[in-house]
């Protein structure tokens, strides 16, 4: 990982994303291989490493016995931050995540989005050199997601290094400078989102309804396609040309063209089989 970049870990459920995060944050032991965080060994200096990272866990684990501000102050104490500095930092962070007016509100009175924002603030209390985000926007409505993204981009612009996992591929393409797609504990590909799309998917995709007529036609024309539920996907270099051909020869009722996305790469690499 490079300093100042946003690095994403993508993969289906059970791919090993969270496990990787937990190994980086010195909570889970390594199962094998080499791992070094800030050039330190997680087995030997976990406290040193943990003092320099901030973690947004997948599960909301704010302290329900405390208000927003107390959550931050209590957390600051775990990092041995002196009380006055902690107070200043906590108020600053509440403003940053737009929770100043909820300062003294107990946790159970917050909405899901507010809780996620408070967790983000909590992760920043020690001015971490590395921020670890495990599914930062899981379960949030679009408004709340956009707010979190905005904050993350701001952090990135300030030169923070961020590692994140996500299931949302649009989130990954928006935020990540580089990412890996992994499955069953193995890294499948690595690169910048746009490069990955270029390398592993065609430039554009034509989606056509999946009917016997269309399938027969595609087979007859020798056009390779991919089955995707009620539609078939036809990757192509030029959607316009292909769409015209298909409309002329196969007469589909539904057809749409779009640029290829990270999701196409993801599904191509990890398959469409359902995971738990």
């Amino acid at each position: 990982m490079r300093k100042g970049e946003v690095f994403g870990f993508l993969g289906p459920n059970g791919a090993g994303k969270t496990t990787t995060m937990k190994m980086i944050q010195c909570v889970s032991p390594r199962s094998g291989g080499a791992l070094s965080v800030f050039g330190l060994d997680p087995d030997k200096s976990p406290a040193k490493i943990k003092g320099r990272i901030g973690v947004v866990p997948q599960e909301t684990n704010l302290d329900p016995d405390f208000s927003c501000i107390r959550n931050l102050l209590t957390y600051a104490r775990y990092f041995d931050i002196p009380p006055r500095a902690a107070q200043e930092r906590a108020d600053e962070l509440l403003a940053f995540v737009q929770l100043t007016e909820k300062r003294d509100v107990p946790i159970d009175k917050l909405s899901g989005g507010m809780k996620r924002r408070l967790i983000l603030a909590r992760a920043l209390i020690n001015r971490p050199e590395l921020l670890i985000l495990d599914e930062p926007t899981i379960g949030l409505d679009p408004q709340a997601r956009h707010l979190v993204w905005e904050k993350l981009r701001l952090l990135q612009a300030q030169g923070n290094t961020i590692v994140m996992t996500t299931h949302y591929l649009d989130e990954a393409s928006r935020l990540c400078d580089r990412l890996v797609i992994m499955d069953a504990g193995k890294i499948l590909v690595e690169g910048a989102p746009a490069d990955l799309v270029r390398r592993h998917a065609a430039a554009e995709i034509v989606e056509v309804e999946k009917s016997d007529r269309v399938i027969a036609c595609l087979n007859g024309e020798n056009i390779p396609y991919e089955d995707a539920g009620d539609m078939v996907l036809v990757p192509t270099g030029s959607a316009q040309e292909l769409a015209r051909t298909l409309l002329d020869r196969c007469h589909p009722e539904k057809l749409l063209t779009r640029p290829a996305t990270l999701e196409d790469v993801f599904l191509k690499l990890t398959g469409r089989r359902l995971r738990d």
Binding site: P46, G51, D80
Partner: protein, 261 residues
């Protein structure tokens, strides 16, 4: 098995966990300070004055004075035990507090050590609140009874360690009822609390001394409040110190096993 007895690397950061629990405790101090007061009164009236009317003396000691140290010892046991079973389990499993804390420089060993210290602190506070009530009734000897406070801390660590072992292996919060009913309740009755141990058959007496931690807490506590120290206090103290060390170490290692995967 070797790992169970290895000395866990606990740092002074464990006090942050203790401090967190202390703040929560004082946030609801009204709820937390009343039970010790009420409990002291209830026991004194119900057992001391009620049963005491029939059982006037035991070994030449008024019955109320006989059970006063037992009330203190039982409080030591209950506060630490329930804090480090149900209290810790809720913080670990439902509130996910431990997960949140170990993402900071604190290790799981620090967290559990903080919880144990907190359990012992609860015992100490409970006894400190009860002492004035008992003193007001004139059923304990002063100033020797003030040593009940440090004794409460040691006893508290002992029961906190035992409790944390159960918390580390319990599959769910419901199964914590087993140690409560099968271990704590019998111990409350058969540790020389409300009647002298020597009324029990010899085998049971030895079993109580060998296996029931409360026996030793009650025994020392009674020597303090009746101001009748004997050398057996040292034996009990040694038993408690050894058991405390063993259970606290095992509990931290068991918890590590449970939580670090």
């Amino acid at each position: 098995m070797a790992g169970l007895f290895s000395i866990p690397p606990v740092t002074r950061r464990c006090w942050h966990v203790w401090h967190r629990n202390l703040i929560v405790f004082f946030k609801t101090w009204k709820v937390n300070f009343f039970p010790p007061f009420i409990e002291a009164f209830l026991y004194l009236f119900a057992i001391g004055l009620g049963i005491g009317t029939y059982v006037q003396q035991i070994d030449g000691v008024p019955y109320v004075n006989f059970i006063a140290p037992a009330i203190l010892a039982i409080s030591v046991m209950n506060s630490a035990f329930f804090e480090c079973t149900y209290g810790s389990y809720v913080r670990m499993y439902y509130q996910k507090s431990f997960d949140a804390i170990i993402a900071t420089p604190l290790s799981i060993e620090d967290v559990i050590a903080g919880e144990l210290l907190w359990g012992a602190t609860r015992s100490t506070m409970y006894v400190s609140i009860m002492l004035p009530v008992l003193a007001a009734f004139g059923v304990i000897a002063l100033p020797l009874s003030l040593l009940a406070i440090p004794l409460a801390f040691l006893g508290g660590m002992l029961f906190a360690g035992i409790a944390m072992c159960f918390t580390a292996i319990t599959p769910s919060i419901d199964t914590l009822n087993y140690p409560s009913f099968l271990f704590i309740t019998p111990m409350m009755l058969f540790s020389g609390t409300f009647f002298p141990l020597n009324l029990l058959p010899a085998t049971f007496q030895y079993a109580a001394i060998a296996l029931l931690p409360l026996t030793h807490v009650v025994s020392i506590m009674r020597m303090l409040t009746l101001s009748s120290l004997s050398w057996t206090a040292l034996l009990s103290l040694a038993w408690m110190a050894a058991a405390t060390l063993i259970f606290c170490v095992i509990s931290v290692n068991l918890m590590r096993r449970r939580l670090i995967v």
